[in-house]
Amino acid sequence: MPEVAVRELTMAEAVREALAEEMRRDPRVFIMGEDVAEAGTPFKVLSGMVEEFGKSRVIDTPISEPGFTGIAVGAAMTGMRPVVDIMFGDFLTLVMDQMVNQAAKVHYMSGGAWKVPMVLRTTLGGGRRSAAQHSQSLHAWMSHVPGLKVVLPSTPYDAKGLMKTAIRDDNPVVFFEDKMMFKVKGPVPVEDYAIPFGVADVKREGEDITIVATSSMVPVALGAAKMLEEIGISAEVVDPRTTWPLDEKTLIESAKKTSRAIVVDEGYERYGVTAEIASVIATGAFYDLDAPVKRIGAMHVPVPFSPPLEDATIPTEQLLFETAKKMCKR
């Protein structure tokens, strides 16, 4: 990161800045979704956008996810670069046909004649006391489908750089933002930059154990790493940043270096992102592993509304710390 631009933005500001810069640069880019214009989304990510770009480029829709996502697929096929806003990741269930059967397949089935350069922005993460239908992290579903790229930023810097790449990409990209991290601040350079997909970022270097963490779990992993440091365990925290394309090389190299790996992700643990990443590591680093690869994800239950119960279902620093400690025999 260049040193000249010592400036902090929140995650929401970083996403907004990426969108605004791309909309200024490219007139084909437009935003569509529920409460995106005057409201600027419930999380205030898009505040001020409609004022700058007008209602024809920041379009409020009715509550009709399948409809406006379908419009976006068609718009993308015919030359626009839409950015669709799905307020809660839980509502991805409503747009599965548009994304999975249309957006993801059109390029392939048309023999390359059509492209679908759209971005679907949505949220993940619990902890907001929003109950079972507004708290899920369903990025594994999207990562499962060939033809979709899936982005999971964990810092304002990553969010801006990855959003730029997402908008410029000619393929459908699903961009997940943790709804609890919008107010988290971090350094973001003033000048233009983009972060390529499929490049993991080592958020912290370590020697004894690798913690692979995504999105909301990156700060949890860094907190656990700090606790581990106090008992003499040096943890490396690796953030894949995109689940597809996946930077297998960095994950495997890190696990080879430390001989131990834990994968933590806020999606459901069963059949989740952690399973795929753990498998990549187990296969690629098998002869350098000193312990089975461990996975930590959300409990296999609907996310509870009750705060103590919700907290019990989501991976915590303490759980990660205890798991890592045990794996390192302390």
């Binding site: 001989s259 098998f286 002869y287 350098d288 592993l289 000193d290 312990a291 045990k326 025999k329 302390r330």
Partner: protein
């Protein structure tokens, strides 16, 4: 339910045990706790008790066989019951049911042992690869994992050790088993060779010596010996007094009563004083558990019992396990002073010379006094010179003024 009888692991470094004798024949009835077999292990011949009531069955080891620890050698079954069929698989040593080993492994004997026998433990992929690359036979590797798994660091420790000793231990032993060397060494002698080499090459030893005036020690023996002999039927020895003195000093110096673990220093909660005893083919260390809480009389009775059973080769597993400090006394051989090799993972050992009349300065005048030399060997990873000296100071003070021991 059938109970498996496995070759017990009584010491961390034990790889195999020699079956000396079956006390019961196949088909005979046995009660839980009755002596079942005699095994020559690391340090002594020990009796192993039956873990259950039942009938001895499925005996697959003969007297004189050397058997890897953890391997099933027989079963205790109920009338009409047959030994489990999978006993064959267990004998290959690839897998072991930890529960099956538990009764024979004498759990109370070594509460501080980090893991059970690992001849059958699981091996991490990395450890397996490293072992292959370095030509180490995994059957000889002790696992340090939470469940006894063999981990990469266990292999690397052997590789590092071999770098300083000029040979890979596991590999060397394999070759040895095929050659002649093992034929000429008893288990006790071979283990003594291995353990002392391991200690001397891995623990950085240093030595601190003090001479002590043993006048008061002799007086204490004369004063309290007759009463103890009358009440308990044993003669109070200098060693007994020393055990008591050492135990009290250890209480005040927990660092001397500590163990070196790979990751750091472990302060042992109990003061268990080991006493090195010469036997036919080497040395056995018998343990006075919680010596700091025992009276002189109790120590004398226990030490005498241990010495007799050591000479007869009848020590039980609990008698030789769990020492947190060792005393080696060569006074009876007219040795003035010597240095001893630490018994891992203990932090120190006290070498005691004979009590003999020497000319010393007392109040500026030459005087003849019964003097003894005490040399503490310490592991510098746990102790330093000052700590060792302070421990010796307190020890010598209680020898010169033994009143405190006798309360």
């Amino acid at each position: 339910m059938a109970h498996s009888i496995v070759m017990p692991a009584l010491e961390m470094a034990q790889e195999s045990g020699k079956l000396i004798a079956w006390r019961k024949k196949e088909g005979e009835t046995i009660a839980k706790g009755e002596p079942l077999l005699e095994v020559e292990t690391d340090k002594a011949v020990v009796e192993v008790e039956s873990p259950a009531d039942g009938i001895l069955a499925g005996v697959k080891a003969h007297e004189g066989d050397v058997i890897p620890v953890g391997q099933t050698i027989a079963w205790i079954v109920q009338p009409g019951e047959k030994p489990p069929a999978e006993s064959e698989d267990m004998a290959t040593g690839r897998r072991m049911d930890a529960k099956a080993a538990a009764p024979a492994a004498a759990a109370p004997a070594k509460p501080s042992a980090p893991s059970g026998p690992s001849a059958t433990a699981r091996i991490s992929p990395k450890a397996r690869r490293l072992a292959k690359e370095h030509g180490i036979d995994l059957a000889h590797v002790r696992g340090s994992g939470g469940d006894g798994e063999i981990l990469a660091e266990d292999i690397l420790a052997l590789v590092n050790a071999s770098a300083s000793q000029g040979g890979v231990p596991g590999a060397a032993k394999t070759a040895q088993a095929e050659g002649r060397a093992t034929e000429t060494l008893t288990q006790v002698a071979r283990l003594m060779a291995e353990r002392t080499t391991q200690s001397w090459t891995t623990a950085p030893h240093f030595f601190v010596t003090r001479d002590a005036d043993a006048t008061a020690l002799g007086a204490a023996r004369e004063k309290f010996g007759p009463a103890i002999e009358r009440e308990r039927g044993v003669r109070l020895s200098h060693t007994d007094l020393l055990i008591a003195a050492v135990a009290h000093a250890l209480e005040k110096h927990p660092r001397v009563n500590a163990s070196w673990r790979g990751s750091g220093i472990h302060l042992n909660p109990e003061v268990n004083v080991g006493v090195a005893m010469a036997v036919d083919d080497g040395v056995v260390t018998a343990v006075i558990p919680a010596a700091n809480r025992k009276s002189l009389g109790e120590i004398a009775v226990l030490r005498r019992d241990l010495a007799e059973r050591a000479r007869a080769g009848k020590l039980r597993p609990a008698d030789i396990a769990g020492a947190t400090f060792t005393i080696s006394n060569l006074g009876m051989y007219q040795v003035d002073a010597f240095t001893a090799i630490i018994v891992p993972p203990q932090a120190a050992i006290l070498a005691v010379g004979s009590i003999s009349d020497r000319v010393v300065a007392v109040n500026g005048q030459p005087a003849v006094r019964p003097m003894m030399s005490l040399t503490l060997s310490s592991d510098h990873r746990v102790l330093d010179g000052a700590r060792a000296a302070l421990f010796l100071n307190d020890l010598v003070a209680s020898i010169v003024e033994p009143k405190t021991l006798l309360q």
